[in-house]
């Protein structure tokens, strides 16, 4: 079996190389059949990698403990779903997973775009397959998933494996890594299109539309992945947080930030033909940050709670990154003439300038995160001393940045293109500003004195009101014409311009998430050693602790501490935080118990018994507003889906309106 897997990977590598060669040779020698064979090779790569992945999954599920990977990441006691998830539970498997996803994406791209972008496709295929070849070098020669355990020259079959780390045995393990990977890997596609457009000197905007859609889809995956990771940390790791500015978390945030910047600045290119160079730079940066992020998680360059085994893999990644970046920079410089802007910035008070500032701020935030993450590496290189910066550094820099972004989220969509007058600004922003200040003043009067919290709530209200007003304004216009009710009119409005109103909905989701983040300012916590059958108090809650129950199943030993929660005499039920010791790994884990509610979560962690074994150590927290983060995510999700739905009327008004190009008058697409 393992021979089939290894062989499939080797063949896939050969096919990837062939695909690059055939595509390029076919393009240059004008031999369509060669190009076609290059595209077919992409399907072959997918089929071969699927075979390899199938072999690995089969071995994991059937428990073939002759194989090193299976032995190290799976065992009998694990539920089948986690045996499957072990595919991406370790270095070798997750690299294979990366390759397989890229092959899948490549297949879809080739299938969907093979007729539309005839002249670009050979280059798109080459870029995709070059990336693929790089990962296959790793899978085929460096981190091989199909090694077998051997002793001397004999293959040994051990009875059982070590099993997946218990912290990973949680349902999000099944979807969080795939989501993040779909995000990471997906950004290869926009990059491939950007490079191909540079090489072929694409004049039109057709490719940028395709790229925008791809970016939006991968952006959604990345967002989902990041949020799932946050939810996982919150519900499993028992420290009560959802974000710790850990290098690995940062690595997933970096490409997300640049992709967000791209999704905004791409509108400048579509509508006004501006920022062309910048957009290429953003797409490329996003791609390289994805590779960089994979490298951070794989090579142990910086210390992290997550970091995987230290390995030599970092050198390969650095080489690939250096070659890729050098090639991209050269290509951009040699094509500068074709990327001239069609319009100029006119006024600071204009839509264009809010996009500019949006990008500036996003990039600054990306840079700050990168700087903080790499600070140990940089400081060691410069001063010889390894210095790390921690969460306080990131919070200090990123909170003001986030506030400013929130402000732009409110201001940007309402400000006019080209130039805006103070009069129109006053009209658009009076109500949002008044409501924001009113909310902040009200909260201050109620005893909230945390300055960032007040600013955040002010801005959240400000943005929410602007978004709401936009919907009402548009819906009213429809209602006057057709006479439907407001709700129907809003649906109609959204359907007419899905990108715009879907985008507003995404903004709304971000606002809701920010309300949740701001709740962090009001956390309460206590750690106590309690005797069984005693009571304690946190915030407005009374906790009555019962006595410890114990038991064991084939996977782990558990002890459970039932705690009755009441608030002002009202019974809120029993929470049962659990402490487990996994048998195979002899590792303790905590299963926290959370009572989720819109206003605040009660979060209990049973940290084991005290030294004398008589009392239980209970950590109790109250986390205000955390649920809003997850609600906000769903709004972002819905909004993005709406953005991806085609609008009802496909008239391109915006471009004709702003640029006023006569020949493009109400140009109907298709």
């Amino acid at each position: 079996m393992e021979n089939i897997g290894s062989l499939a990977i080797l063949l896939a590598f050969c096919f990837a190389i062939y695909s690059i060669a055939a595509s390029l040779a076919g393009k240059w020698a004008k031999r369509p059949f060669l190009v076609l064979s290059g595209e077919r090779a992409v399907y072959c790569v997918w089929a071969l990698l699927s075979t390899a992945a199938g072999v690995l999954i089969y071995s994991l599920i059937s428990g073939d403990y002759r194989m090193t990977y299976v032995w190290a990441h799976s065992n009998h006691a694990m539920p089948t779903i986690y045996k499957f998830a072990s595919w991406w539970g370790g270095q070798e498997g997750s690299l294979l997973f990366w390759s397989w996803l890229l092959a899948t994406y490549s297949g879809v791209v080739v299938y969907r775009s093979r007729r539309r972008f005839r002249d670009m496709m050979p280059y798109v295929t080459s870029v995709l397959m070059a990336t693929q070849a790089f990962f296959l070098i790793l899978v085929a020669f460096v981190a091989k998933p199909f090694n077998v355990l051997e002793e001397g020259r004999l293959i040994v079959n051990v009875g059982d494996g070590q099993g997946l780390n218990p912290l990973l045995q949680y349902w999000t393990m099944v979807i969080h890594p795939p989501m993040l990977y779909l995000g990471y890997v997906g950004f290869t596609v926009p990059f491939a299109f950007a490079i191909a457009s540079l090489i072929t000197k694409q004049p039109g905007e057709e490719w940028i539309k395709t790229t925008r859609r791809w970016t939006l889809v991968t952006w959604l995956f990345q967002t989902t992945g990041i949020l799932l990771g946050a939810g996982w940390a919150y519900a499993v790791l028992g420290w009560g947080g959802y974000w710790g500015w850990d290098p690995v978390e940062n690595a997933s945030l970096l490409p997300w930030i640049t992709a967000t910047a791209f999704l905004h600045s791409v509108m400048m290119q579509e509508k006004k033909g501006m920022m062309k160079v910048w957009n290429i730079v953003l797409v490329s940066t996003t791609f390289f940050l994805c590779i960089f992020g994979t490298m951070l998680t794989r090579s142990g360059v910086v210390n992290s709670v997550h970091a995987f085994a230290q390995s030599s893999i970092g050198t390969y990644f650095s080489t690939f990154l250096a070659m890729g970046i050098a090639g991209t920079v050269f290509l951009i410089l040699s094509r500068l003439n074709y990327l001239k802007s069609e319009a100029q910035l006119e006024s600071v008070l204009s839509r264009e300038s809010t996009f500019l500032f949006n990008n500036l701020i996003l990039l600054a935030s990306c840079f700050a995160v990168l700087w903080g993450t790499l600070f140990p590496v940089i400081s060691e290189a410069v001063t010889g001393e390894k210095i790390t910066v921690d969460a306080p550094f990131f919070n200090r820099v990123e909170i003001p940045i986030a506030m400013f972004l929130l402000l732009l989220t409110g201001v940007g969509p309402l400000i006019a293109w080209r130039k805006s007058s103070f009069e129109s600004l006053k009209k658009a922003f009076t109500w949002p500003l008044v409501s924001g200040v009113a909310v902040a003043a009200g909260l201050a009067a109620l005893g909230v004195h945390h300055i960032y919290a007040l600013v955040s709530f002010l801005l959240c209200t400000f943005v929410a009101v602007t978004v709401f007003m936009e919907f009402v304004k548009g819906a009213n216009a429809i209602r006057q014409k057709s006479g439907t009710n407001l709700a129907t009119a809003m649906v109609e409005l959204t359907h007419r311009n899905t990108r715009r109103y879907g985008g507003y909905l995404v903004h709304m989701g971000i606002v809701i998430m920010f309300i949740g983040f701001t709740g962090k300012a009001f956390d309460k916590d206590t750690t106590v050693e309690v005797n069984p059958n005693s009571a304690l108090k946190i915030g407005a809650y009374q906790l009555r602790v019962g006595s410890v129950e114990e038991g064991q199943n084939e996977d782990y030993q558990w002890s459970r501490l039932p705690v009755d929660v009441t608030k002002n005499g009202e019974d809120l039920g029993t929470l049962e935080p659990e402490h487990r010791v996994y048998l195979a790994q002899k590792q303790p884990t905590s299963e926290v118990a959370i009572r989720r509610n819109l206003n605040e979560d009660v979060y209990l962690n049973f940290a084991g018994m005290s030294a004398d074994g008589q009392r239980a150590v209970l950590q109790a927290y109250v986390f205000p507003l955390v649920t809003w983060i997850w609600i906000g995510y769903w709004v972002v999700f819905m909004g993005t889906l709406i953005c991806l739905t085609p609008s009802k009327s496909r008239l391109i008004w915006a471009r004709t309106q702003v640029v006023g190009v006569a020949e493009k008058h109400a140009d109907v697409q298709n």
């Binding site: 709670v305 995987f308 500036l360 884990t589 905590s590």
Partner: protein
């Protein structure tokens, strides 16, 4: 006003503010990464800097006293007593023999006062390649 100045001023103001915040953030939170051996060589100046010390948790050294957790970090023969009195619960991976990172300051009594502990499971999230010695069931 010149267009470059009009756009340049706010951009410079934003970047300046962020740079200032970042510089302040770094100087206030920077933590020197030291091994126990390096810590011993630092002498008295070890007491004024914020430090992050890495090592293995000595077996059977973890004791709890109220909210404080005491343990000993080991690096080869060197030992460093640590008291943790932070708010956050200790990670589940924190146990005997685990690799741990303690953030805090060294007291004059030679006890390291940690405000934050990070731990990696002895086998990390991934079995270290060197530890992957197969066991022969027949032997």
């Amino acid at each position: 006003m010149n267009k470059y100045i009009k756009f340049g001023l706010p951009i410079a103001a934003i970047l300046g503010t962020l740079g200032w915040l970042a510089a302040g953030g770094i100087s206030d939170t920077k933590t020197y990464y030291k091994s126990i051996a390096e810590l011993n060589q630092m002498g008295p100046q070890a007491q004024d800097k914020r430090l992050r010390v890495g090592g293995d948790v000595a077996p059977n050294s973890i004791t709890r006293e109220g909210r404080d957790v005491k343990f000993v970090l080991m690096q080869d023969q060197l030992r460093l007593p640590v008291v943790y009195s932070g708010i956050d619960p200790l990670p589940d991976t924190f146990k005997d023999g685990a690799q741990a990172l303690a953030d805090g300051k060294l007291g004059t009594d030679g006890v390291f006062r940690a405000s934050k502990i990070q731990a990696k499971c002895a086998s990390k999230y991934e079995a270290a390649p060197s530890s992957a010695k197969p066991v022969n069931p027949n032997s």
